[in-house]
Symmetry: C2
Subunit: 339 residues, 2 copies
Amino acid sequence: MKTGKPTINDVARLAEVSKKTVSRVINNSPLLSEKTRERVQAVIEEIGFVPSLQARALALSRNWIIAVIHDNPNAQFLVNVQHGILQELADTEYGLMVQPVDRTSANLHENIRAFLERHRPYGLVLLPPISEDDGVAAICEEFGCNYIRMGSVKLGPAEHTISSNDREAVREAVSYLISKGHTRIGLIEGPKGFTSPRERRAGFEEALTAARLDLDPDLVRTGHYTFESGVEAGQSLVDLPQPPTAIFASNDEMAIGAIIAARRSGMLIPEDLSVVGFDDTPLSSHVWPTLTTVRWPIVDMASMAARKLIHPEDKQAMKKWLLRSELIERDSVIPPRKF
Amino acid sequence: MKTGKPTINDVARLAEVSKKTVSRVINNSPLLSEKTRERVQAVIEEIGFVPSLQARALALSRNWIIAVIHDNPNAQFLVNVQHGILQELADTEYGLMVQPVDRTSANLHENIRAFLERHRPYGLVLLPPISEDDGVAAICEEFGCNYIRMGSVKLGPAEHTISSNDREAVREAVSYLISKGHTRIGLIEGPKGFTSPRERRAGFEEALTAARLDLDPDLVRTGHYTFESGVEAGQSLVDLPQPPTAIFASNDEMAIGAIIAARRSGMLIPEDLSVVGFDDTPLSSHVWPTLTTVRWPIVDMASMAARKLIHPEDKQAMKKWLLRSELIERDSVIPPRKF
DNA sequence: TTGTATGCGTTATCAA
DNA sequence: TTGATAACGCATACAA
């Protein structure tokens, strides 16, 4: 089972120092004479010594692993998060683990606890909606495992949070619809009980209020962030005796579902119905007409999360907890016909 | 740094045996009296002993990790693979790592080598196109790291391969188009130099040959498995003086791109143009009309890959290397107008 | 069938 | 500023 690779003992012998001194060198300890450090460093490079992560893991009871914990079925979202984290992890020794969990399970906390005990990751990136669970954050604290909660609102102290400004972004998007002349605007919101749908709805209402428009409860539908639920909600809205002239959907999938439903009912998009989504998934520029939407900076959020986990000394990064979403204007919004 | 958790020593002391005996129990060694095993097992359960993966990793120089190595930008594909592997890993101690690589990099092999040295995963799942690189497989052999190559054709011996029957599946799909009366069938193939596009093209040609139809080179376009390339290729096909009455695209994204292009040119789908894709991504049932396509059993393939990695004693699984694709009939295919 | 002694490659303690 | 020695928690060779 010997790997044949040089170990800290080889370095110590060749540099004629103790292994503890070598350990100090590879850990950048300040208690070290420059001369010794240089001699040891020279040997390290000469024989190509690389510290064993397994041995360090045993000694420190913590692995060189960043883990993503999630209960989120959206493929593009997940891959974007992974991509963002991996960008930051490139050229480091850290690796990325992915651990899905079931938020509806009675064993949720127990399962996360078991994962932490088993793999002892260096840090955790908690994705919504799991990130909104204070119990999970408490478990991380208990284990002394670093963690970042990702969400649409500030979840706990800045050093443990990375967030987008969903409410404000949606307010701008809906204000944009209003500025185009729309006054009957439908809302397809996300599932109840989660933060991001609530924030996005709040932004929707704020935009109406700012324009002195009333929220018509008949124009609000609840979906599950899925294409199918978007179709259903959209169908229900366009079937109204007096359908809306525009719809804001809480994510792109539902927006595209609504477009399909409207078209099935013989409507032209955007002539008969303007639609705005949220996310800016690749899909949104692939549909026809291309979808006006809010760009959710999820890749950057994930990068920033990883940066905070592995560079706690970067005080500037530790303080930053907000990345802004912005409206992307494409072809799915025009003024209403009667305007 | 003590974790406070019970260790193998605690078990040994309480059960009044040596730690080696405990080690035998947790490793299911046959050299053990039933009485001893039961007594030790009882203590293990009583004090809730869980072996430390870090300590085992150091002793065995191998981690309880299955890693996916890939250079594949497709989100749905990646998440499906991860999902399949995680299905098999659930209720085991194994975790999942994800490691993207750059197949065009001169350091590709060096990078994979570094990853193996660092994290010492128990097994690797190699995704196409990386899986087609014999050098990568050789590196795995060299490190004694188990691996499965996933692809559209048998890559090496059965115990290291899991494959789909792309060629046969495409042959059936195109034969289906022919059976509907289509004789001018366009092909949007995937990028040159990879196996899956080549196999799918071979299936296309076999179907034509079987029906005594000639392959018209003017009806063949090459894309990059992206939506945009599908739009471009589709546009180029429908702009022909005598456009095809049907198109087979080597994946769903390009198929949907072709549909968009055709519609932009005023064609009705499927009335003026039938389209068949490949993959059966969720997207394919979300577009309008819903897309007739070939279901690629990627989740099952990934599950099977993980099973082979962590259950080498399952001889039946080790022998199985083929999972079949099947045609999913939806709404994007009808007979041609003139038929 | 069981135990002893040692190895795996690092970090931590505490003394020098 | 350095080093000897002991963890860390398990597995293995070899002996009994």
